[in-house]
């Protein structure tokens, strides 16, 4: 996409706003909806992977050592990972501003 959505005028749109580029949803920063972010205490984490499994937005990645990492571009801050973590290793921190 040459222009971002904010730059497109109605004349730039494809007929019926058809999307010709596959996977364009990945450009959408759902992380901007977040009011709280998950903080993972790696000392408590057992690398069980449940947070990765339950995250509805695939916003938790696993690093080379097997520890979870949140992708804040997509994380909406829903807190499901906090509820599912069997070791209470994740807490939510309020976003500022």
């Amino acid at each position: 996409m040459a222009k971002s959505a904010e730059e497109l005028t109605w004349k730039d749109l494809e007929i019926g706003a058809i999307m010709t580029e596959p996977g364009s949803a990945s450009q959408y920063q759902t992380g901007s909806w977040r009011t709280e972010r998950p903080i993972i205490d790696l000392d408590k984490c057992t690398k069980c992977g449940l947070c990765y499994v339950f995250c509805p937005d695939m916003a938790i990645k696993v690093d080379d050592e097997g520890y979870p990492e949140t992708d804040l571009f997509y994380c909406k801050g829903c807190g499901i990972c906090v509820v599912e973590c069997p070791k209470q290793a994740i807490t939510m921190l309020e976003e500022e501003g």
Binding site: A5, E6, L8, W10, G16, A17, M19, T20, P22, S24
Partner: protein, 392 residues
Amino acid sequence: MKEKRIGMEVSQAIAIATKLADVDVISAYPITPQTHIVEGVAELVADGELDADCIPVESEHSAMSACLGSSAVGARTFTATAGQGLELMHEVLYVASSMRLPLVMAVANRALSAPISIWGDHSDVMAVRDTGWIQIFAVNGQETFDNVLCAFRIGEDHRVLLPVMVHLDGFHLTHMIEPIFIPEQSEVDRFLPPYQYPLPLDPDKPVSMGGMGAPNIYFETKRAQAEVLTAAKEVILEAWKEFGDIFGRHYSPVEGYHREGAKVLLLTMGSFSETAMTAIDALRDEGKEVGLIMLRLWRPFPFKEFRQAVKGADVLIVLDRALSFGGPGGPVCSEVRSALFNEDKKPKVIGFVGGLGGRAVSPDGFKEIINRGIEVAHKGSEQEFEVFGVRE
């Protein structure tokens, strides 16, 4: 021109039009008074006369949804419905126009429940006025047949790519037997090129249709849609012109009958127009300067042609066959008033609501409407609109 004129039910003529248009997919749910259209098309497919897929569905909502899919892969698509069926399609109608899918639908205009009425009026149409479809009203069977062919040509034009409704009055037209000129296949082929959607659903070149439009882009999509529907009028005029050149039958957005020099005009839509002509003839014989205008193109509304058509008239009487409850009477009258409001010289607009739920308006009835309309125009009235033909 080698056209045969054959007596047949108008619904059957629509089926033949889909055959001549070489439709690829039909998905419809039968509902009175549209049933004969779907039966006719299904029979042509079953007999091997039309090489198309009939997709049977469990509701009109599904019928319209199936039509979206088939139109999106580039298949020429037809459906038909009426009354409650049109209302059940409602939300999907917006999707068809927003996704710019040029399918064609015949609507056998029918009243809405309750009480249950299978008979004709325009309540169903008016409820889908703002769905973004091109909407054409037919006065008789020949117009219906011709405009089904035109609808494919107009909708599929790459400058348009919009769905088209062809409105015909339930029973008054759907079940009417009328001699209809049926053109040769070669002539239809000359008028109607094959359907080619520019960005179809294609596994080799994937696209996404009907995605999410967040606040940062939704409004732009609607602006584009509004623009294309308005601009479609030029293509409609062009298609009608070429249709006239090939077939000798000429159509325009607003049709006049004894309009010249008329001080009083009546405006009608659909099959009631021919009955109204009889009344106009009778009043002309009595020496009254009355005329008729018939609104054929409902969406996009032909502002220029309409204003031109009412020029010179002092009184414009509008008969609506639908009622905007708690509002200004009929939807057509509201629209017409609004189209004239800012004009310096304009006729006084008198709105009538009549003919609901299949109630007929006879030629004498039209005479009464016109005479009463003239009276109201001169003396005024306490009411926002007049009601005709109901027992008080």
